[in-house]
Symmetry: C2
Subunit: 240 residues, 2 copies
């Protein structure tokens, strides 16, 4: 499988208007003048390096985050001190919504690769939402979507075998690339086997074995973190 050739371009931070993932993010359906008001709100940070934290549990909440490019893992700590991954977030996705109520981040967010994020200061976003009904509605929808996302994780974890969970995980990642109009049958997993296993409530050895088994069965081709889904229909069947 071919790795993308790393060409170094001059770093450009597109405004909302030019952003590749605009339609998945908060500005969907906004009129041009509202879009530029929205754009003025957004803080575009320097890209995060792999392993860099966007925020840590306990930090004061300033705003929610949208990913322009890259990937972020969010994780919490259980009462007994174990790490528990609560989500992987890729471009076009909004996260940090869990901090609104308590005004403190209840979990950690760390970049899984070089990542560009936009911060949307929440107090200002609420103010602008009072002026722009579409924006208020988009905010509601994005929060609702996050609630559904977590419900899907619950459905995925409930009473399913390791085989099913991993098949569903791969199909879910694939779908999210498809949502962005990106190639969805071959992609790079942005997270380690450790992270996947933790997220799916399995041992990392089980994940590794299951990947190997899917490969033997011809369902997928996996080399390190590069996956190609070769038999969508069969994989869906395995996922039930």
């Amino acid at each position: 499988m071919l790795k993308p050739n790393p060409i170094h371009l001059i770093h450009v931070k597109p405004a909302c208007e030019q952003c590749r993932v605009r339609e998945l993010c908060l500005p969907t359906n906004l009129k041009s003048q509202d879009l530029s008001l929205m754009d003025k709100l957004v803080v575009r940070r320097e890209p995060l390096a792999k392993g860099e934290f966007l925020y840590r549990a306990g930090e004061k909440f300033k705003g929610i985050y949208a990913i322009q490019d890259g990937a972020v893992k969010t994780y919490g700590l259980t009462v007994d001190g174990r790490e528990q991954v609560t989500g992987f977030h890729i471009s076009g996705e909004v996260f940090g919504l869990d901090a609104i109520d308590g005004e403190v981040h209840p979990c950690n967010a760390v970049a899984l690769e070089k990542t560009e994020v936009c911060q949307i200061p929440f107090a200002k976003l609420e103010e602008l939402s009072m002026e722009v009904p579409e924006l208020l509605h988009n905010l509601s929808r994005i929060m609702s979507r996050e609630i559904m996302r977590e419900q899907h994780v619950l459905l995925m974890l409930g009473g399913t075998s390791a085989e099913q969970r991993i098949a569903r995980f791969l199909l879910n990642m694939s779908q999210r690339y498809a949502d962005q109009k990106l190639v969805s049958d071959r992609f790079r997993l942005c997270m380690s086997r450790q992270d996947i296993s933790n997220y799916l409530g399995l041992a990392l050895e089980t994940v590794s074995r299951q990947f190997s088994q899917f490969q033997e069965r011809g369902l997928i081709d996996i080399q390190n973190r590069y996956v190609q889904i070769k038999q969508f229909s069969l994989l869906k069947q395995v996922a039930q």
Copy 2:
């Protein structure tokens, strides 16, 4: 353990102003005149009988729901047709937020006992939120809280033993009664062992055995659905 004596009162539906759980619900911190605007929005339905559906998966979304009294279970169907409980909701709690994005309920909501709910039509709620900043903020906070609630479930399910899950479940229920200023060391479980096991990703036999074991160890006293937590500190220790 004493069952509450069933006294039949004339059915009264308190307005938001008089509602016992007002401070947990959308109207928190609202000024008196805003509260009455909010109150005009609310649709108070006839009480639901045990087993009655509030909505079913696929139904068009009209509004979100708040429980005045009683309990509701929400559940989805997995791809292979199994039921998966996504939450138990008791008085003072708001749910149905997962339907905002798609404008269709992705799951079912059924009363676990005689239950009084308020429907808050969502389009009207958004309109009023544009006028009342506190209401907009309360809505954001309630959605954020729901996201956190689901994250807690994920943390609870991730890499924990059956013993821990059940201890945490009991402590969680207890805390939610405490949040309402109700007795929190003795309460009636509003759901079946089946529902609990499904929710916690365990077999119902495991739940039953674990309850018996906690009883033997003197941590709790359980008779049918009536629980008394006798050793909070020990139970917390078991939950880690």
